[in-house]
Amino acid sequence: MNVLIVEDEKSLAGEIALFLKRENFLCDMAHSGTEASEKIAVNLYDFVLLDLGLPDYNGLDLIREAKEINADVSFIIITARGAVEDRVKGLDLGADDYLPKPFALAELHARIMAVARRKFRIQSPDITLGEFVMNASSRKLMHGESEVEITKKEFDLLYYLVINRNRVLARHQLYEHIWGNALDDQYDSNFIDVHIKNIRKKLNNHAPAPWLETVRGVGYRITSDS
């Protein structure tokens, strides 16, 4: 997938690009609104990650412009302004998601995947985790023929780890993904431990799940080949 990163903070744009390339995205960067406007006119992007706080351009205008050229381009707004109305306005103008800074790269990845799934109606493939099979479209976790009864939150947690498999996710990252910024202050490392403990209990009722690992002092990781 082709991604344009519109971000005037060059080092941040670089870090995002580094991360997305590792995830096999094709990345392009624009450090100003004008540059972005030119690149959007010439190239066909699947995704534009758009910082709203551009010095030379109103980011919301850029969305309007780009949609006129290519209605299929997906926008994810990334902003540090945190104004309540920006989010509403952005989504009104046809942005597909909104991610306040500072965000986790893993979260950005999850959001891109979610938008792609929604937008391109990609039927999620079955993901094999040891003896278990997970499907994001049906939101089901199966062990053979029987379904593992896990809650919505537990599924989200597990799926976030699956999308970022083979990578350690810290507890606060997992918390942020599930509860968002609004309840940031109520963060408690214990939350995630309790949920993982419950997930493990439910999994172990069916079969052992060694692929869900605790990484001491850091967080959790799912190791899987597929």
Partner: protein, 441 residues
């Protein structure tokens, strides 16, 4: 409390009534005076007529040479009479008084003029009387007419007063209506008011100027929060992405790995802190919408289902009792969620294993009341005093809490006009109460 228009109308009515009552009270007196004077003038006029008649025809036709030597004449209905008779020498009379006369077994009050006159060396006494019955009758008629007139006058002026005051007070209603409809932060700069009343023009101008200034302040505050957010979060975002990318490298030394994770956790705390402070600033400058309707019990259920796994893990029983459906209007649902969540989460954290947390919603005295009671360790009065002060609650050693959660809860409650009360007994538990405003649905 009374409307200005009602007050003015009432005052007008009262003053008219008082005036009318006084007038009616004095009316008999006035009428009597007028009548008396009129009657007396009439009597004097009649006297002159009689005197000129006597000087024309002489006294003889009026004097009957009988024992009384007098003359008397009543008209048929006995409303008037005239008498002329000889009088002793030395009498000199000229006055008017009220005398009772018995005529045909009937006592009649007369206003009588007594007048002594000398003709051809003889003294005569002339009396002219008018019955008071006819006078009183006329007076009653006049009084009735006046009463009817007064009644109609009061009614008509009352209606015209009401219409007129309603008309001239209309601008005031417009102004108060506008003020009532103003919801921060969306000030609408309404058109200047059209009215010929100078006071209202002044009031309107002053208020619009004030609204403009307040709107300006809010806009500035919003700009400041946006700028602070941008300036602080941009570098934090750069750092975070860098650290995360480093953490993703293959074959990291475990010590480096946990060091990076620790740095990320610290960064997360910084982000949380800034976000919390900005959130309070945004609530206090009314940057959040308040346009939703929320079922509070539904909201509480969502909170408890979120926290149930944690409570269960900590061996704490969560009990939820919402007796009736309560819909709160003009609220921000997600803010209210945070408000309740923070308090329940606090309770879960501070209640030891085996304890209970009861969340109850009920209506009392027409207001909806939500309480969260725990069997936790409770708080001392000093702790209680500083409960809602930012950073007064010492962050816990694990670095999980920033001590700003209850300050957020308080500012959300204030934003929604929800009163908060806390009762706490050290060692026995804490009780939070939220009192929702009456005007909620």
């Amino acid at each position: 409390m009374m409307k200005l228009q009602t007050k003015l109308a009432l005052f007008n009515l009262l003053s008219k009534l008082v005036f009318s009552a006084l007038f009616i009270g004095f009316l008999p007196l006035i009428i009597e005076r007028i009548n008396t004077r009129q009657t007396d003038n009439e009597l004097i006029k009649k006297r002159e007529e009689v005197i000129s008649l006597i000087s024309a025809v002489g006294i003889e036709p009026f004097i009957v040479s009988d024992t009384t030597g007098g003359f008397g004449s009543y008209n048929i209905l006995k409303e008037e009479y005239i008498s002329l008779e000889r009088a002793p020498e030395d009498v000199e009379w000229n006055f008017i008084d009220v005398t009772k006369r018995i005529i045909d077994n009937e006592t009649i009050d007369y206003r009588v003029l007594h007048y002594s006159l000398k003709i051809d060396g003889e003294s005569y006494l002339l009396e002219i009387g008018m019955s008071l019955a006819s006078i009183t009758y006329a007076a009653r008629n006049i009084r009735n007419i006046i009463l009817v007139f007064l009644g109609v006058f009061i009614l008509v002026t009352l209606i015209s007063d009401l219409t007129y005051t309603a008309r001239i007070l209309r601008p005031l209603r417009v102004i108060t209506g506008r003020l009532g409809n103003t919801s921060l932060p969306t000030f609408d700069h309404a058109e200047p008011l059209v009215t010929s009343t100078e006071d209202f023009v002044k009031l309107d101008r002053t208020l619009r100027e004030m609204m403009r200034k307040i709107g300006e302040l809010f806009r500035k505050e919003r700009e400041i929060t946006v700028n602070i957010s941008h300036e602080l979060m941009t570098p934090v975002s750069v750092l975070r992405s860098k650290l995360e990318n480093m953490l993703m490298r293959e074959n990291l030394d475990p010590a480096v790995e946990s060091g990076l994770e620790e740095s990320l956790r610290t960064l997360h705390r910084l982000k949380t802190l800034v976000n919390s402070m900005l959130m309070i600033a945004r609530i206090e400058s009314s940057q959040y919408m308040k346009e939703e309707i929320a079922d509070i019990c539904e909201l509480v259920k969502e909170v408890t289902s979120e926290l149930a796994p944690l409570a269960e893990d900590g061996g704490v029983t969560l009990i939820l009792e919402c007796e009736q459906i309560f819909m709160a209007a003009n609220v921000n649902r997600s803010l209210l969620f945070s408000m309740i969540y923070n308090v329940v989460n606090n309770a879960v954290k501070h209640t030891p294993s085996g304890g209970r947390i009861e969340i109850a919603g009920r209506e009392r005295d027409g207001r909806f009341e939500l309480s969260v009671s725990d069997t936790g360790k409770g708080m001392s009065p000093e702790q209680l005093d500083r409960l809602f002060t930012r950073f007064s609650n010492r962050p816990d050693p694990a670095g999980n809490s920033t001590g700003i959660g209850l300050a957020i809860t308080k500012s959300i409650a204030d934003f929604h006009n929800i009163a908060v009360r806390v009762i706490s007994v050290p060692g026995a538990g804490t009780q939070f109460f939220f009192f929702f405003p009456v005007n909620s649905l």
